[in-house]
Symmetry: C2
């Protein structure tokens, strides 16, 4: 089973990387880019085959290691 974890900064948390991308796009002549946020995506291959067990395990991994829940939120998507 595969898990795709998307970790993004919470609303209201400053995102200097996103700001840098927005400035760079503007410098390259791309107009109409109003806001940019950058996050991480982590793809895990799991031995577990039960969806609900895998969901619980991956959420615990996020809380423990993958996301800093003070400033970040995470989203877990499972697929076969």
């Amino acid at each position: 089973m595969k898990a795709k974890v998307t970790v993004t900064l919470k609303q209201g948390v400053l995102d200097p990387q996103g700001q840098a991308i927005q400035n760079a796009l503007s410098g390259l002549g791309y107009e109409g880019v109003e806001n940019v946020r950058q996050g991480k995506v982590i793809e895990l291959d799991l031995a577990e085959t039960d969806t609900s067990v895998a969901q619980t395990a991956v959420e615990k991994m996020c809380e423990d290691l993958l996301a800093n829940t003070v400033i970040e939120t995470y989203d877990v998507e499972l697929s076969e």
Copy 2:
């Protein structure tokens, strides 16, 4: 219109960040994590409202700036 760009390393390109995450999860006692790959997700708010124009523009941004197409692939998802 919002665009979500996911940039991941191509298959076969070494991913030390993913390897570090896998080792850390193993050290924390998580078993059954067979492979980990880390990538980036970039969320753009665009002024453009036409889907096909936006798709073309974002793909060009990926080629120019957001992804290093020598070692990375990108995927664009658009939503209202």
